[in-house]
Each structure stands twice: as structure tokens, then as C-alpha cells.
Amino acid sequence: MPGVKTTVIEVRTSPHLHGPLSVDKIMRHVVYALLPIAAFSVWNFGISAGVLLAFTTLGCVLTEHVTCRLNGNRSTVNDYSAAITGLLLGLTLPPGFPLWMAAIGCLVAIAPGKLLFGGLGSNVFNPALVGRAFLQAAFPVAITNYTPALANGRFWEFIPSSLALPLMKSAPLNDWIAQVRVDGFTGATPLVLLKFDRIYSDPWPMFWGQRAGSSGEMPGFLILLCGGYLVVRHMMDWRIPVAMLSGAAVSGWVFHLLNPTAYPDPLFTLFTGGLLLGATFMATDPVASPVTPRGMWVYGVLMGVLTVLIRNLGGLAEGVMYAILLGNALSPLIDRLTPPRPYGARKPAGAI
């Protein structure tokens, strides 16, 4: 019998082929896509941003590893999702954010924000944003202390607030900012300038990353480029960012038309704050967003509109984080209200 030598044959379940993507591969590529943005941040803000990003990434990975082990489970850091959370958390914090507070952010993002729900795939809210929302509510002063980009000596000198002692306040930054101020860069972000001082900034330089802000939210062109890479590799859904950005642009435009002096133009809306970063990398967190195709559009547009509403009407200068968290909270409802119509359905399928 020349042919059949194998005596043990495996019974497997169909399908016997599998597509090219896997979760760890997707996550790994998301990390790759975030690295250029992180690098830009280090270029803008120097050693403080670099240490902050490394610190939050390591912090999240370590928290996940230790928590898994304490629970007697296998560590799940190999799927790279903790690294993404850490990077994103770091990118949304001001570059000079005290490191001890960042550590608390990591702890909150991973432990209650993710593992308490059952780990990867179970978090109802984006863990990085849970961590950041916690920090925003806990340390409202420190998290709005922005520092100018391209400061002299940024590569060898820390922003003084970075190294605040644990549990202690950071020193006021005003003197330091005055000392390092570069032409055109004050500590305030364009959104804060607009909201509280009615100073309008030109949106295009912002798109190229020339402004103050959270450590990773400024290089608009880079964010779109890196997001585009993930979309092309089918590792990210393009509908949510497109929906969110157009929702923000259109609603921002409506506000602008109603009162051009009080509300900024749509380009300003798009290029300022964390909108691009949030829409591209955080709103698209698949775990916390709807799965139905129509639902994704609804979800995206909703978050875009909420961002503009919070920015224009609320007490906060920036609304992306809250808009995404609210979107996360609404996504089960959206999923429920937008079920796909099954092929050949005899009657409209399940409303509420």
C-alpha cells in the first residue's frame, strides 16, 4: 500500500482554511502604527514625553501581567493589547504629567478598566480612556498643565512636573514655561485659548503638529497616515473614524454658520485637540464599539456630534474623551437598535 501510510488521522472541524489575520498580529500592528506618533511626540516634547510613554506602556503591561498572575491565570501580555492601552494612555496625557499619577492611570486602566470585566474582549469601555477619565476627574489641575512644544533643551531636561514626588503636588510650571518659551508656543492648547481667551489659532500648522497639547495628539498628518496603514491592512475599521470626523465636521460647521464669532470653523474642529487621535485609535477600539455596519456609522457620527457639543456648549475645552466613553456606553444600545436585516428575512427583525 504505497499511498496510505498514516494510520492516525485527525478529525478537525471545518473550515480547514483560515484567513491571514489573528488577534495578536492585529494588535502588534496597531503598536507599530502608534510608534511613529510616539516618536513625533518625543521630538516635540523631548525626554519627558519619551519617559512618560515608556512608563505608561511598561506600567500597563506590568499591571496586566501581575494581575493575571495574582489571579492564578496565564499572563495575557502576549496579545499586545496592554501595550496598546499603555501607549494610548501616554499619548493622551500632557507631556509633563507627573509619572506617579500616570502609574495610577495605568493601574486603573488595566485592573478595573479591563481585567475586572474579564480581560481582552470584555472591556465595555476603552481601557485607556477609563484610565484617563479617572485621572481627569482625580487630578483636574495636573492633567490640564500643558507645556510648549519644541522647548530648548527638551532632550536632556525633564519638564519639572514630570518628576513630582508620589502623592505630592507638582511645582507650578509658569516660571519654567516662561523660561523655555519658544516663539508661538505657550502652554495653552488652541482649544483652551479659544474657549477661555477667544484666541483663534490657524488650523493648518496644527495639522503638521506645531502646537501644545497632549503628548500624542498633535501630528494630524501622521495619525491619519498610521491609521490609513491599518485600514489598508484590514486591521482597523474605516467607517468609525470617517463617521466620527464627518459628524464632528458637519456639526461644527453648523455651529460655525450660526455664530461664526463664537464657534470655530470645521477645520479647526477637526485638527485641534484629540479628535484625530481619538477617532482613529480610540473610537475604533473594536471591543467597545458596535458590530453592526449601520451601528458603526451611527456610533461614529454620534461621537463626533457629542465632541462638538461638549466643546462648544460644555464647560470643558476638550470633549473627545467623554464623547468616546459615552459612545462606548451607548454601543450596546446601538447594536440593539441597528440589527442587520438578515438575508431573506420575512419581516423586519427585532426592534427593542
Binding site: N71, F117, P332, L333
Partner: protein
């Protein structure tokens, strides 16, 4: 206080959401939010009961003030609420026995939902006029409904994943409520003229 109706509405629906910011109606919020269907029905019933009892309480308060018997306010509000719940129960029973079967068990619970009494008390303390009171009642109870529906859907979702045994139950619900509450902080200042 002359607040515009829009302010009252946005404020009590979102900014000072009864559940997530003022901690009213916590017991049903935590206890009856595990299923969407239950939560949704509870929410709608609460909207109804609060609105009716708010209107009744407004009238009663006028009467009490006229009689200089303000010290009976609390006790009479309680009676009104209990009566409203009874009334609701009877109306639903007559109008739709099917709905009654579904809601029956939740109705008596509404009597001890502090949100109901709180609306009656707050509208009195804040000197709202009749229309303000009604808008306030609708939006505050709407806020309750919104919060409990959101929590129930999120909880149904969490039910599909492998929650560690440690966190199962109320602790997890509280963490979810906390995150929802943080998310709602985004609305802060929306009513204000910044």
C-alpha cells in the same frame, strides 16, 4: 430662581443626572438593571409615576403653604406617592392586563424609590412654578430611565464575557456605574453660559 426650561431639562437629564451624579434611585438602579427588558419597563414606569406625583405634590404644597402646615410636607408627599403608585397600578391593571403582569412586581418598589420623593422635595425647595416642576419631573425621571437602560445594556454585554469570580455581582455593577458617571461628567457646564 428663574431658570429657563431648557436649563432645567439638560441639567436634570444629563449634567446632574439623578442616578449618576446625585445618587438618587440607587436601589432599583443597582438591583433591577441586570436585564434590559426589566430596566426599560422600570424606567418608563418611573417616568410616569414621578410626573404624576410631581403634579400632585405641587398642588398639595400650595395647599400646605396656604394652611401654614409645612411641617406635614414630608408625610403628605409620602402619602401622595403611595397613592400615585396605587393609582398607576390600578390604571395599568384596567388598561392593559398584559403590561400589568410584566410590571406588577416592580410597581410597589417605586414607592421606596427615593427619586420620586426627591423630585417632589426639590421642586418645592427650588420654588419651581408648575411648568418648571413638570419639566423637571419629566427630565429627572428621564435621566433615571436613561441611566438604568444604559447600565442594563452594558451589564447584558458583560454577562457574555468571563468575569472573574471575584468581581461578579454588585462590585462590577458599581464599577460600571462609576465609569458611566465619569462619562457623564463630560456634560458638566453645558447648562452654563461659559
Amino acid at each position: 430662581m428663574n431658570e429657563s426650561l431648557g436649563h432645567i431639562f439638560v441639567d436634570s437629564l444629563l449634567i446632574n443626572n439623578f442616578v449618576l451624579a446625585v445618587f438618587l434611585g440607587m436601589c432599583p438602579f443597582l438591583g433591577l438593571s441586570s436585564k434590559f427588558q426589566t430596566a426599560w419597563r422600570m424606567g418608563v414606569t418611573v417616568i410616569f409615576v414621578i410626573t404624576v406625583s410631581s403634579i400632585l405634590a405641587f398642588g398639595t404644597n400650595l395647599m400646605l403653604v396656604a394652611l401654614h402646615a409645612e411641617y406635614l410636607r414630608l408625610i403628605s408627599f409620602i402619602v401622595i406617592i403611595a397613592a400615585t403608585v396605587q393609582l398607576t397600578e390600578m390604571i395599568i391593571k384596567k388598561a392593559s392586563p398584559a403590561l400589568f403582569r410584566e410590571l406588577g412586581i416592580y410597581l410597589p418598589l417605586i414607592t421606596t424609590n427615593c427619586a420620586v420623593l426627591a423630585v417632589a422635595l426639590f421642586q418645592t425647595v427650588r420654588n419651581y412654578n408648575f411648568i418648571q416642576s413638570t419639566v423637571y419631573a419629566v427630565s429627572a425621571s428621564g435621566g433615571f430611565c436613561l441611566a438604568i437602560v444604559l447600565l442594563s445594556l452594558v451589564r447584558e454585554r458583560v454577562e457574555l464575557s468571563d468575569v472573574p469570580s471575584l468581581a461578579r455581582g454588585t462590585a462590577l455593577t458599581l464599577v460600571l456605574a462609576s465609569i458611566l458617571s465619569m462619562a457623564f461628567m463630560g456634560f458638566a457646564g453645558m447648562g452654563g453660559g461659559g
